[in-house]
C-alpha cells in the first residue's frame, strides 16, 4: 500500500482524538482490541476483512494509548491533592530539569516523591512546576523538601505538569542532597550548559537570546518584544529548532567526514548518533524529534538502497512521538510542525506545476518563485491554526518568510560556525560574533518594517 505508515498514523491520531472527547472504559477497549488482534491473526490471508481489521485495530490502539496516558495512578499528586483541602503543602521530590533563574525566582519541574501537610505525608509521584525565591544554587537531580501553595495552572492539555507550586520564603526550601536523576540526562544538561557558555560568551543579551533559541532551541531567555514581533509577522518558527537545523547538522557532518575520506556507509553510521545527540541537546521538542526521525528514516533508506517515502517518514515520526506521549497531538507545536511539512509536501509540487516556476528566466527569478510557493504552501495551513490559537492572521507571512528565512539561515550557520571556532580556535570568535549581531539587527529591523505594512497582520 502507498504511504501505509502515514495512513496508520492518521488512524492512530483519530483514535486519540475520539478517546479525548468521548469517555469509554479502557477495559472494554483493551478486551476489544485483543479480540480484534486474535481475529486478524486468523483471517490474515483474507484481504478485505484483514485490511479493515488492521485499520480498526490501529484506531483502537490510539484510543487505548491515550486512555493509559490519561489514567493517573492513585499515588499521583493530582489524586492526592484532591483528598486534602486547600492550604500549605510540604512536598519532597527530585529536580527533573535544569532550573531557570528569572527575575529573582527559580523555576523548575519537580518529580514528587512524597506530599504532606503538618503531621503526616503520603508517598506520591508525578511532576509539578515549582517557582521559588531561593539563594541556594540548584541543579538537575537535587533532592528537595519544599513548603508552599499549590494552584492549578492553565497549561495546554498535552503538558503533564498541571500544578504550580509557589514557594514564597527562602527558608521553605531545604536541600537534602544531589544524588537523584539519570546520568545520561545529567550529561545532556551539562553539555547544553557548556554549548550555551561557548555561544553566549561575547554576545549582547538580545542577539544571544535569539541565537540560543535558534541553535539550542532554548527560548526561555527570549525578550517578550522579540517574541511578539515574530508572532505578528508569522515567523516565530525560525526561533524553533526544526528540520532545517537537523539538515544543517547532517549536511556539515557528512561534508566533514567526506573531506577526511570516510566511505559513504560508514559516514551514515557516524552521523546517526550525532543527530540523536543534537536532538537531545536541543530538548527533544516535537519539531526536532520529527526531523530527526525523518532524517534517520532517510539515512536507513539510503543505507538499504531503498527509496524513502516522505509521507511514510512523516507518519513514522508522528507515531514515534504519539506512542511516547499521545497528549502531544493536542499541542500547538506538534500541529504546526506536522501540518507545515505536510502542506509543503502536498501542495508545493502541485503549485510548482501550475505556475511552471522552474521554467522562469533568469534562474534567480525561478528560485524566488519557488521559495514564495514553499512559503505559501506552509502558510496556507499554518495560518488557520495560528488564527485559531493566537487570534492573529498575518498575510505578510508569505513575504516575511522569503526575506527572514534566508537571514535566519545565516544566523544559524554563523551560530554553528561560532560554536566550532569557539571550541577549536577561540581567538577567531570575534568576526562570527560581529556578523551574528549585524544579521540579528537586520532581521529585527526587517521584521519591524514588514509588520508596519498596511494589512500586514490582523489581531482579533
Amino acid at each position: 500500500m502507498q504511504h501505509s505508515l502515514f495512513w496508520l498514523a492518521i488512524l492512530f491520531g483519530l483514535g486519540i482524538t475520539v478517546a479525548r472527547f468521548l469517555s469509554a472504559s479502557w477495559v472494554v477497549v483493551f478486551v476489544l482490541l485483543s479480540c480484534i488482534v486474535i481475529i486478524l491473526t486468523l483471517v490474515i490471508k483474507r484481504a478485505l476483512i484483514s485490511n479493515f481489521l488492521s485499520f480498526v485495530s490501529f484506531f483502537l490502539l490510539g484510543a487505548l494509548i491515550f486512555m493509559n496516558y490519561a489514567y493517573l495512578p492513585r499515588r499521583h499528586i493530582n489524586n492526592i491533592i484532591r483528598e486534602y483541602k486547600k492550604g500549605c503543602f510540604i512536598i519532597k521530590g527530585i529536580i527533573f530539569d535544569q532550573p531557570l533563574e528569572k527575575r529573582g525566582r527559580v523555576y523548575f519541574l519537580l518529580d514528587t516523591l512524597a506530599t504532606g501537610r503538618d503531621n503526616y505525608a503520603l508517598t506520591s509521584c508525578g511532576l509539578i512546576r515549582v517557582c521559588l525565591r531561593n539563594k541556594i544554587r540548584l541543579q538537575y537531580g537535587d533532592e528537595l523538601v519544599l513548603k508552599g501553595r499549590l494552584r492549578r495552572a492553565n497549561f495546554l492539555y498535552s503538558r503533564r505538569p498541571i500544578f504550580l507550586f509557589n514557594v514564597e520564603k527562602s527558608s521553605d526550601c531545604e536541600k537534602l542532597g544531589s544524588h537523584g536523576g539519570f546520568w545520561a540526562k545529567r550529561f545532556i544538561i551539562t553539555s547544553q550548559g557548556k554549548i550555551r557558555e561557548l555561544l553566549l560568551r561575547k554576545m549582547s543579551p538580545v542577539a544571544g537570546a535569539i541565537l540560543q533559541a535558534m541553535v539550542l532551541g532554548d527560548r526561555r531567555g527570549l525578550p517578550w518584544h522579540v517574541n511578539r514581533l515574530m508572532m505578528k509577522s508569522g515567523t516565530l518558527h525560525i526561533l524553533v529548532v526544526s528540520g532545517f537545523h537537523v539538515g544543517i547538522v547532517y549536511f556539515f557532518l557528512e561534508l566533514f567526514l567526506k573531506i577526511i575520506g570516510i566511505k559513504r556507509r560508514a559516514r551514515l553510521l557516524i552521523v546517526l548518533p550525532f543527530l540523536v545527540f543534537y536532538c537531545l541537546v536541543t530538548g527533544a521538542s516535537v519539531p526536532v524529534v520529527r526531523a530527526t526521525v525523518m532524517c534517520i528514516f532517510f539515512i536507513l533508506g539510503a543505507f538499504t538502497n531503498r527509496e524513502p517515502d516522505i509521507y511514510n517518514s512523516l507518519g513514522l515520526a508522528a507515531l514515534c512521538i504519539l506512542l511516547y506521549n499521545p497528549g502531544q497531538l493536542f499541542d500547538i507545536g506538534f500541529q504546526l510542525s506536522f501540518s507545515s511539512v505536510l502542506a509543503i509536501v502536498a501542495f508545493y509540487p502541485r503549485l510548482k506545476k501550475i505556475f511552471q516556476s522552474d521554467k522562469l528566466k533568469p534562474r534567480v527569478l525561478g528560485c524566488l518563485a519557488n521559495s514564495a510557493l514553499i512559503s505559501f504552501s506552509a502558510w496556507s495551513v499554518t495560518s488557520i491554526l495560528i488564527f485559531f490559537y493566537f487570534k492573529v492572521f498575518s498575510p505578510v507571512t508569505v513575504i516575511a518568510n522569503m526575506i527572514i528565512v534566508p537571514l535566519a539561515s545565516f544566523i544559524i550557520l554563523a551560530g554553528f560556525g561560532l560554536l566550532f571556532v569557539a571550541f577549536v580556535l577561540p581567538f577567531l570568535t570575534l568576526p562570527f560574533v560581529t556578523a551574528i549581531e549585524l544579521i540579528v539587527l537586520v532581521l529585527l529591523k526587517v521584521n519591524s518594517l514588514l509588520i508596519e505594512l498596511p494589512g500586514a497582520y490582523f489581531l482579533f
Binding site: 490502539l61 492513585r74 499515588r75 489524586n79 508517598t123 506520591s124 513548603k147 527558608s171
Partner: protein, 109 residues
C-alpha cells in the same frame, strides 16, 4: 482503496501485541501503586536558622522588621551563636508576647 500487504499486516499485529502487553503491565502497575502513609520527612521546613540567617531572611519572618533583624545580628556578633531560643528575649524589643509569636518560625542548629 488502501490495502496493506501481508507483511505490513504482520508488522501491525506485532506492534499491537507489544503495545497491548506494555499497556497491560503499565495499567496493572498504576492500579496497584497506592499511596502509603509515611512519617513527615521534616519538622524544620519553613524555619530560619537563627545562627545563620542574614538580615533579608530574618525580615521574612512575620514580626521581625529591619531594626529588630539588625539587633539580632549584632547580638549574635557580640555574644556568639545562640544556644537556646529563649536567648532571644535578651534582645531589646522582644517581649514574651513577641517571643511566643517568633519561636515557631526560628530554629537553632
Amino acid at each position: 482503496m488502501f490495502f496493506l500487504t501481508e507483511q505490513e499486516k504482520r508488522a501491525v499485529i506485532f506492534l499491537i501485541i507489544i503495545c497491548l502487553l506494555s499497556i497491560g503491565v503499565d495499567l496493572f502497575r498504576k492500579i496497584n501503586l497506592l499511596p502509603q502513609r509515611i512519617e513527615m520527612f521534616t519538622k524544620n521546613i519553613g524555619k530560619f536558622n537563627l545562627n545563620q540567617a542574614g538580615k533579608d531572611e530574618l525580615c521574612e519572618v512575620p514580626g521581625i522588621g529591619e531594626k529588630l533583624a539588625e539587633r539580632i545580628i549584632s547580638y549574635r556578633r557580640e555574644n556568639g551563636s545562640f544556644k537556646d531560643i529563649e536567648q532571644l528575649m535578651n534582645i531589646k524589643g522582644i517581649t514574651r508576647f513577641r517571643f511566643d509569636r517568633l519561636k515557631d518560625s526560628l530554629i537553632i542548629r
